[in-house]
Symmetry: C2
Subunit: 373 residues, 2 copies
């Protein structure tokens, strides 16, 4: 019962074709075979043909790890992503995946469900010869970490988070939040609240700051208790449940309930709408909502939201990684996108000026701002 499979395996190992086999069969040297597969110019047409014919006949496949070992690079990037079931990450990830694949690289995915796992993932990714670069998503980078990572001497690109020591691709969370809030102000709302995700998350914190700045800038009186900061840790509070709970909390304000709120993500908004609906309150009639992200579902819910070019951000992360490898010594590059206000039903603007186009079906994400590099 044990012997048989082993036997079988042995056979399958012996069957492996190496450049030595090809060299022998084609009556050339191994160096020549290697040159053929690497497109080295100094090989005559006839030799090249001869090698390729034999290689095809023997169904040769180069051994990736042997190549990696000899070349000292892996043609692989790692992506370290928190909670990748979050729709935002998925859309960015798709951009990353497609781009990586298009340049003939492979993508190693590390999902992080608990902060402790970050270190482990980085350790795994940073083992020498594992990957050529790491794309790091959304998680705050403490200075102590930054120093350690710099020592890794492996390129790191940050997406949706920022640290001066690394390349980063982010969105203007502050201004985005400001624009969102000002949209509500422009619709005449005086008592505007906010529901934000866990403040440990940079985007959540900055969006809150942007919101406050807008309120202040327009001389509105801040109403106590109409800012709900989620203390949910799962998904950093960027979840439907967190939004639901936050709105439940807010509903306790009773008659002091704001007439409009800015919510730090679409998923939270969806949860919040649930909570409102349970109370018999309607959006936007009883409460106007503007949120953030523009995930695919946002359009279904008619959410007015701040659109982030997620797919594009993923692609750019890979582009930047490639550039960084070409020039490791260059100064860190920061790319920031300006999110775009997408007006749908949830803010109530459509009621005021119904000539704006309605249900947007299949509208492509267009690039909002070009990177400033």
């Amino acid at each position: 019962m044990e012997a048989l499979p082993t036997k079988k395996q042995n056979w399958s190992i012996q069957v492996a074709i190496t450049i030595y086999d090809i060299a022998r069969e084609a009556k050339v040297g191994i160096g020549t075979v290697s040159r053929v597969f690497n497109g080295h110019p100094n090989v005559t047409k006839e030799t090249r043909e001869k090698v390729l014919v034999v290689a095809k006949r023997l169904n040769y496949q180069p051994h990736v790890y042997a190549q990696g070992l000899a070349r000292q690079r892996t043609n692989t990037f790692a992506a370290i992503i928190p909670f990748f079931t979050n729709y935002f990450f998925i859309e960015v990830l798709q951009g990353v995946q497609e781009k990586i694949s298009s340049i003939g690289f492979d993508l190693i995915l590390h999902g992080i469900n608990h902060p402790d796992e970050i270190d482990e993932s980085l350790r795994r990714s940073s083992r020498r010869g594992r990957v050529d670069g790491i794309i790091f998503f959304s998680m705050r980078v403490p200075d102590s970490f930054a120093k350690k990572w710099k020592d890794l001497e492996i390129p790191i690109v940050l997406v949706d988070t920022f640290h001066e020591a690394f390349d980063s691709i982010t969105v203007e969370n502050f201004q985005g939040a400001q624009i969102a809030t000002e949209h509500l102000i422009s619709l005449g709302h005086k008592n505007i609240g906010m529901i934000t995700a866990n403040i440990k998350s940079d985007p959540a914190r900055i969006r809150l700051e942007g919101f406050r700045a807008a309120i202040q800038k327009h001389g509105l009186t801040p109403h106590p208790g109409n800012i709900i900061v989620s203390d949910v840790t799962k998904l950093d509070g960027f979840s439907r449940d967190a939004g639901y709970l936050a709105m439940k909390e807010m509903l306790k304000l009773g008659s002091n309930l704001p007439s409009a709120i800015f919510i730090s993500s679409d998923v939270q908004a969806i949860g919040a709408i649930s909570a409102l609906r349970e109370k018999g309150l309607r959006v936007p009639d009883d409460m106007a909502i503007v949120s953030f992200d523009d995930i695919e579902l946002a359009q279904h819910f008619g959410l007015t939201t701040m659109r982030q070019p997620m797919f594009r951000m993923g692609e750019l992360a890979v582009d930047q990684m490639v550039k960084r490898k070409q020039n490791p010594a260059a100064l860190p590059v920061q790319m920031r996108f300006m999110p775009e206000l997408v007006v749908r039903q949830s803010c109530g603007a459509k009621k005021l000026s119904p000539n704006i186009e309605d249900y947007v079906h299949h509208k492509d994400i267009n690039e909002l701002a070009s990177p400033q590099d």
Copy 2:
């Protein structure tokens, strides 16, 4: 401008620590160093300590590719997934990711957006020494492919699709569809329709068959035109848009509209509900709906649906992969889960017997059927 980065790189390469450095510093042989890191028992405590101290001092990291080359295995699996923005895949993928990570393996992700890419992905994954196994999602496996893949001599596990030559983890689509349909029948509906995804997809096709079987079994008269088969190719028709369009189509039946429908996935159901709402029709009052999958959103929409243990399926795929590697010669194993009817609002059953628990918050997916291996 060119010289500097190169110089820098040289330096960083020279700084790389190998077992030879450790052996020298610790005054032991390389074999001993290797044994220490591989937990080989025959090393004295003192020697082990000595090596570990030096290794820590020099910040030694083993070179993954060198290990892979020497060990003849990679500790890496590939997952080939179509349209991984689909919620179903994401949840399965998460199971895969967590399990892979927990056994200390890495996951290489290949997203497929067009059938042509399958071959390329398989080629890339099957290069010798690239991965130790491939988990293949949802896509139909033609016999011609199967033969080719068998020759790859690399373990393949199928998830959400079936072929007799490979291990597979699937759900009872036929019976699931039957149960869903019978639930509607049991609620008294006589004219029941179906909206299905693209019939090219196995799950879609089989669910349609299950639906038909249920209708026939209970002696209901099939109503012409109340089965809408999506011809959308994007996401194989398992999308909100496809569901929306299908319902638009169905609405043309006018007064012949069925009073209940079975829809082949939750996302489609969400789209269909959109279309109904636009016409001012309400769920479940004007139309009862049962769908399939139980993605996270289903509960938000109050969808009555057939729950698949997606996360668990992902985990099992990895488990099976490990088993398969231990015993490559064993006969293919098929695991089939029975989906479970989750009753929420969209079918209208709650109205009839309101004692059923309502909004299910955070209920964990429990395993529905144990694998029959």
